[in-house]
């Protein structure tokens, strides 16, 4: 469990980091909190020639308000996201999903942006980011650009970023006063999600005015359960309406098969967990 040799660079600005990536060529890797990368290196499943560590770039850390959105620095740790009052107030879904990430040690080292950029479909922050219509600000040799979450995740562990780009920050529209819940299903507490559902709902009177539902690990990328969202809007939030809406959860999904679940079972979980996520959000 010793990684192959590699060079290590720890730049102090985003521009330096981008330059380091360009200089190091295509076998360079960015390291954020290292919670996914280090096991892969130690098992020698990957052997990058250079690691570019973002840990010393101050501007990548922290959460701030920017008009009708929150801006979350990519190197903000899960622990800080969990406890940030702005996120608690305006993007509660992110806080609830972050609560379920691995264990306290991982949450102290792992980062919000690292998890998004790693693009593991079983990662817990992708579906909430998608559900909240987040936008990713990335920096590269050609400057900075913004990519909406819906266009960001391309495939397993693959994003719209080029190898020379880094994720700077994530802009999350405020969902102030929305109900939120992240319903995660795994076999042991520290495991990845087999399936999880990110649900956030805005009510007016007793009626659901808006709903956003994202699914974790139901395809090679996080997916929106649009059918569920549409079925909920305009309905009173009763067990019956929620159950009926949740029946749409697996529509169009294409989950992977592994020893823990086949397609049929994952789709069953998506439906059941969606109903539970919405109910729990409403109760919370």
């Amino acid at each position: 469990m010793i990684p192959a040799p590699f060079d290590y660079v720890a730049p102090s600005t985003v521009d330096e980091a981008v330059r380091a990536l360009v200089d190091a060529g295509e076998d360079a890797k960015v390291i954020a909190g290292g919670q996914s990368l280090l096991p892969v290196l130690r098992m020698r499943l990957a052997a990058p020639t250079t690691l570019v560590d973002l840990g010393r770039i101050a501007e990548l850390r922290g959460v701030r308000e920017d008009g009708d959105a929150l801006v979350i620095g990519s190197m903000t740790t899960h622990y800080d996201v969990q406890r940030d009052p702005l996120i608690g107030e305006h993007a509660a879904l992110l806080a609830r999903a972050t609560d379920t990430v691995a264990d306290p040690q991982v949450r102290h080292r792992g980062t919000f942006g690292g998890s998004i950029a790693h693009a593991d479909p079983a990662g817990d922050l992708l579906a909430p980011a998608l559900a909240l219509d987040a936008e990713m600000l990335v920096a590269g040799p050609a400057g900075r650009r913004t990519v909406p979450a819906a266009d960001f995740f391309d495939d397993f562990f693959t994003t719209a970023m080029s190898p020379e780009e880094i994720l700077v920050e994530v802009r999350v529209p405020k969902h102030t006063g929305w109900h939120a819940h992240y319903e995660k299903f795994n076999r042991v507490a520290q495991a990845w999600s087999m399936v999880a559902v990110a649900a956030t709902v805005r009510t007016e009177g007793g009626t659901i005015a808006e709903a956003r539902v994202g699914l974790t690990n139901m395809a090679s990328v996080p997916v929106r359960a649009r059918g569920v969202e549409q079925a909920l809007v305009g309905q009173a939030a009763t067990p019956e309406t929620i159950r009926a809406a949740a029946e749409h959860a697996a529509e169009g999904t294409n989950p992977t098969v592994d020893g823990n679940a086949d397609v049929e079972y994952r789709q069953q979980l998506a439906r059941v967990l969606t109903g539970r996520a919405i109910s729990a959000a409403m109760a919370g």
Binding site: I2, A32, L37, L45, A117, H118, A189, D258, G259, L273
Partner: protein, 813 residues
């Protein structure tokens, strides 16, 4: 002097060894560093079954820091060396040679193929990728029934069969009971079931490691082993090293669970390389290596047939096992399933019994002892089929058990498998467990949930287990063709300053020997707990022993300590009488003092020890020492028992199992340290529950272990387990002076069937009568849906986690 007013035995002492073990500030094998030490890394086969066409080490030899790259042929040119198997269970057992590193052929994925010696561990590992091995693939033999099929390819062509051995016990032939076929043919009710004991990984916390120093006066090996004494003798025999020229040290060892009862090819390799180079060497495996190369446990197919009368009286039990040995035989591997032969009849009076076990070779990692070793498998089989019989008869499962178990007044009781249980009280343990569990209340709730069709169903699982432990009476081991005795050694050194060193042949690797042995000696000699040091694991100081496994330490090794202490007192007595100018007959010894009966005249044992040390004035002919040693060979096994009750909630929409409560009342006889007992029970329960719900070593069709990381091989943490309610009854063993029974394996042995029975009980009304372990949510959900026994998962791939990482894309980008 502080004489101990209240006995040490029975006190819940915090463990002496905890501070250093918990903080890790101690001597593990891997943090040993010797002058000039070089590091070993093993290249492991990626193929499960293949001829080795060639091994090209030339590029690796040119890598930075590399000193040598050696193959099996380099280490053993004549192909003479074979790893030892100490338990030939039958005269015609087939034993393939297991080389130090593969020679000519690899037989499981993970087998060592070559070793790199380098100046650093990192350089050694870097060079592995530069070794070029050309394989010529052979058909891979997986699955015991496939292996036994008529035209099956052979793991070892030269053996002519994949059948390792057949071992049979029949009560009709043994005269201990009736003929089982007759019992079955005459039975009013017969229930047959096939259960699968999945393969498990022992998953000790500290990976295996060894250091060999050929520059020391004796060739010295440190190893993260459970068995330093056995390792010393076996390594000497294997390599022809004169035994007195070899010293083995097990420093602090981070868990074993049976997984470190072994003589490793890597240990033999390290001895050979160190001698060849004349330099100290270190080998430490990675976790990935440990998963594929350290022996696995369990892996049986169990066919059980139970015969009974309509009133629930069991009339016969037939057990037919297939046991997967993997590709080779481990140190005691073939005997592990045979330990189960004596336990399928469990606590029940079964008049006719037949046991037959066929051991099978496959192209997988070898199997050997894992916590419980044969007895969890047996307990699972009998406790599961008792529930199935109860369902068939429409009887309350606890009543069925009570109808058949041995009553407390019937002890000592000789079973159909010829063991004599010395003591036990199944009624008392069960009654206490029922009350703690609120058995009747939970049964009521179960009915209510069923009636209202609650999506969360409740089930109650029972396991009324016993086990044989305290391995073992040497004559019994002899009758089973085991390659050693079962005694244990202890010695006590009375130091001039009144302090005491206790030497034990048991080899602690987390159990708490230092604390428990100190408590025993404190009471025996009246020496303060703090003044006692326990030495173990070094064949130079602890020169004699048979090590730690099979819940033997206290029931065998602890008794040797008592016997040695008795000898110390006996040796001190004449000197005490001499010092106080009285007759020995007038002395009584208590609380560390020899007192002249009827007077206030006394002397402490520390004073006597000092007088012996000075030796200025000793009785005529007395040698100047109080030191003593003893070897204890038990006359019988010990038979702890208990009643475990598990309440499981099954979410019928997702198949998730949540353990709502778990109550166990164990009877481990008299208790030296209740805290240690509690810890053993908790850890044992976690491992047994893990077999039921979480753990499984999975190979794909090419023989690759797909559950090769802890992201795929799931170990539960505290978050995944309920808060256990533990309690005890105390029925002292009658076969040792402390009245103790083993506790190291009890929790693991008892808990697996309790959990599975609970889950089946929760969903039986859907037509489910079995679900294969581990009871994953998908398997449970599928079983509910199909109303039948659920098969395994859809693929042989482990789920999610690191196993899902695409190696080409891996990493955080």
């Amino acid at each position: 002097m502080t004489s101990t007013a209240e006995p040490e035995v029975g006190r819940a002492r915090l463990r002496k060894e905890d501070a250093r073990l918990i903080t890790g500030r101690t001597r593990w094998t891997d943090n040993m560093s010797l002058p000039g030490m070089v590091h070993l890394a093993v290249l492991r086969s990626t193929e499960a079954h293949a001829k080795i066409v060639s091994i090209d080490t030339s590029a690796a030899k040119e890598m930075p820091g590399v000193i040598a790259v050696l193959t099996g042929d380099d280490l053993d040119p004549g192909g003479q060396l074979g790893m030892p198997c100490a338990w030939p269970i039958s005269p015609d057992m087939k034993s393939p040679r297991r080389p130090v590193l593969a020679q000519g052929q690899v037989n499981f994925a993970g087998e060592g193929v070559a070793v790199v010696v380098a100046r650093s561990a990192a350089e050694a590992e870097d060079a592995l990728a530069s070794i070029d091995v050309e394989y010529d693939e052979l058909p891979v033999v997986l699955g015991m029934e496939n292996a036994l099929a008529e035209d099956a390819p052979l793991v070892h062509e030269e053996l002519g069969t994949n059948r390792n051995a057949l071992w049979v016990f029949d009560s009709g032939e043994a005269g201990s009971g009736g003929d089982v076929e007759q019992a079955i043919s005459e039975a009013e009710v017969v229930v047959k079931r096939r259960f699968r004991q999945q393969r498990l990984v022992p998953a000790f916390m500290e990976p295996r490691s060894c250091v060999v120093d050929p520059t020391a006066a004796q060739l010295t090996m440190w190893s993260a082993t459970q068995v330093p004494h056995i390792l010393k003798t076996m390594a000497a025999l294997t390599l022809g090293i004169p035994e007195h020229k070899l010293r083995v040290i097990a420093p602090d060892v981070g868990g074993g669970f049976g997984g470190k009862i072994a003589v490793l090819p890597e240990e033999i390799m390290a001895l050979l390389v160190a001698q060849k180079l004349g330099k100290p060497v270190k080998w430490t495996e990675s976790r990935s290596e440990s998963m594929v190369a350290a022996h696995h446990g369990r892996d049986q197919i169990q066919d059980l047939t139970i015969a009974a009368r309509r009133d629930g009286t069991v009339t016969g039990l037939k057990v037919e096992l297939l046991a997967d040995m993997g590709a080779y035989l481990g140190l005691v591997g073939p005997g592990v399933p045979i330990l189960g032969a004596f336990m399928f009849n469990a606590i029940y009076k079964i008049p006719a019994y037949h046991f037959a076990c066929t051991n099978v070779f496959t192209n997988t990692t070898l199997t050997d002892a894992y916590r419980g070793a044969g007895r969890p498998e047996a307990t699972f089989g009998i406790e599961r089929i008792m529930d199935e019989l109860a369902a068939e008869l429409g009887m309350e499962p606890l009543e069925l058990r009570e109808k058949n178990w041995i009553k407390h007044e019937e002890f000592p009781y000789t079973t159909v498998s010829t063991l004599t249980y010395d003591s036990g009280n199944y009624e008392a343990a069960t009654e206490k467990a029922k009350q703690l569990f609120d058995y009747d209340g939970l049964r009521r709730e179960q009915r209510e949930r069923r009636e209202r069709g609650d999506p969360v169903q409740l089930g109650i699982g029972i396991s009324t287990f016993t086990e044989m432990c305290g391995l073992a009476p040497s004559r019994v081991l002899g009758s089973l063709d085991y390659g050693a005795g079962g005694w244990e050694h202890s010695a006590i050194r009375m130091l001039p300053t009144g302090k005491v060193e206790v030497i034990t042949g048991s080899s602690a690797h987390g159990q708490g020997h230092e604390t428990a042995w100190s408590q025993i000696v404190s009471d025996q000699l009246g020496i303060p707990f703090e003044d006692i040091e326990v030495l173990h694991g070094d064949t130079q100081s602890s020169h004699k022993g048979l090590d730690t496994y099979g819940s033997r330490s206290l029931a065998v090794g602890g008794i040797a300590v008592v016997k040695a202490a008795e000898k110390v007192v006996a040796k001190a007595k004449p000197l005490a009488a001499h010092m106080m100018e009285c007759s020995e007959d007038d002395l009584e010894f208590a609380g560390g003092k020899f007192t002249v009966r009827g007077t206030d005249k006394s002397t402490t044992i520390q004073d006597v020890a000092f007088a012996a040390f000075m030796a200025h004035d000793l009785p005529e002919g007395m040698e100047p020492s109080l030191d003593a040693e003893a070897v204890f060979d038990p006359e019988n096994f010990s038979f702890p028992h208990g009643t475990h009750l598990c309440a499981a909630e099954v979410d019928t929409e997702t198949g998730r199992v949540a353990l709502r409560s778990y109550v166990c009342v164990d009877d481990v006889g008299s208790v030296v340290n209740p805290l240690i007992v509690e810890g053993q029970i908790h850890g044992g329960l976690a491992q047994g529950i893990a077999q039921a719900l979480f753990e499984e070593a999975v190979h794909d069709e090419s023989g690759t272990l797909t559950s090769g990381t802890f992201a795929d091989y799931l170990l539960p943490s505290a978050a995944d387990l309920p808060s256990f309610t533990t309690d005890r009854t105390e029925t002292p063993s009658t076969t040792n002076p402390l009245g103790v029974k083993g506790v190291g394996e009890a929790g693991t042995i008892a808990s697996t069937p309790a959990v599975v029975n609970a889950v089946i009980d929760a969903v039986r009304h859907f037509g489910v009568n079995d679900i294969e372990m581990p009871l994953t949510p998908m398997r449970v959900w599928q079983a509910i849906r199909t109303g039948a026994s659920a098969a395994g998962g859809p693929g042989a791939e482990a789920g999610g986690g690191l196993g899902s990482i695409d190696s080409a894309q891996g990493g955080a980008r």
